[in-house]
């Protein structure tokens, strides 16, 4: 299994907001354990989907020069169960961004229904961990994540330069 928790970007406005689509399918092994006989998309993996959507948005805002790490989930609230066959959207918006960190607000929807809200603080770790050094390579934004953005660019003809 690959650790990518959405399928494609549907909207990407550099430095402002992004919308990603996730299709829930019974081909995903974890749904057979969560729970046996009652497959439900784990809220924790929807938080991860939002973190990936918002994290790429934050990373792209600084041309992927920073290592963007989830620092804190400010708030996570869920209103409904998500089941196989559902399609959810992760709507992420940058509220604040500084040289050292970013704050994002997120909504998860299924059609017009609000499924959940996930607000996150990200750290640009090289700017925050005084005295600690991390590898020079950007180990956060791997090829798999960057490929998602390229797919969006190819599909929507938007202004993302990688």
């Amino acid at each position: 299994m690959r650790w990518i928790w959405f399928d494609r970007f549907e909207l990407f406005e550099s430095g402002r907001r992004a919308v990603a689509v996730k299709n829930i399918t019974l081909a995903e092994d974890h749904l057979h354990d969560h729970f046996p006989g009652l497959p439900v998309m784990p809220a924790s993996l929807m938080i991860e989907g939002m973190a990936q959507t918002a994290g790429i948005l934050v990373g792209e805002a600084r041309q992927f020069a920073e290592k963007v790490i989830l620092a804190k989930i400010k708030r996570a609230a869920f209103n409904a169960l998500v089941r196989p066959g559902d399609q959810v959207r992760y709507h992420a918006e940058i509220e604040q961004i500084t040289p050292s960190a970013a704050s994002t607000a997120g909504r998860i929807t299924r059609g017009d229904e609000l499924i959940g809200e996930v607000d996150i603080v990200f750290s640009h770790i090289d700017q925050n961990m005084s005295g600690l050094e991390f590898p020079e390579d950007n180990f956060v934004f791997t090829e798999e994540f960057l490929a998602l953005l390229r797919t969006y660019r190819a599909g929507a003809g938007q202004r993302i330069t990688l």
């Binding site: 604040q96 603080v121 750290s123 005084s130």
Partner: protein, 131 residues
């Protein structure tokens, strides 16, 4: 923005800390230490700064709140302790903080103890005055 009274600034700071740290309102007193009393971790500082910026409509450069360059400057630090020159620089950079206890034992690993709720309130007041 109209001038806020000390109590109004305190109430907004308190709300930011209650939301960021999931503490009870009555725990947030002016003397409460962010780390020791309210359980703030270093990562919470990022969250608190964002909430204060949003709530008060101000910008808070990271080095203004916590002057890391002083704490890592070899001219000011020896054996993880600030020398007199470093303490003087810290006093100048942090006029909003009460450094009297820290000056008695200027171990840089104890710098978090100077961050009380009152420190944050005075810092915000100085930013609002300068705006």
């Amino acid at each position: 923005m109209p001038t806020l009274t000390h109590d109004e600034v305190f109430d907004k700071v308190k709300q930011a800390l209650v939301d960021a740290l999931s503490v009870e309102e009555d725990e947030v007193t002016e003397d409460a230490k962010l780390q020791a009393d309210l359980g703030a971790e270093s990562i919470d500082i990022l969250d608190i700064v964002f909430r204060l910026e949003k709530s008060f409509g101000i910008k808070i450069p990271q080095d203004e709140l916590i002057p890391r360059e002083i704490l890592s400057n070899p001219d000011f630090v020896a054996n993880r302790r600030l020398n007199d020159k470093g303490l003087a620089a810290l006093r100048q950079a942090m006029p909003h903080a009460d450094l009297s206890d820290f000056a008695d034992d200027p171990d840089i690993d104890k710098i978090s103890e100077v961050f009380t709720v009152g420190t944050i309130v005075r810092f915000v007041e100085s930013k609002l005055k300068a705006a």
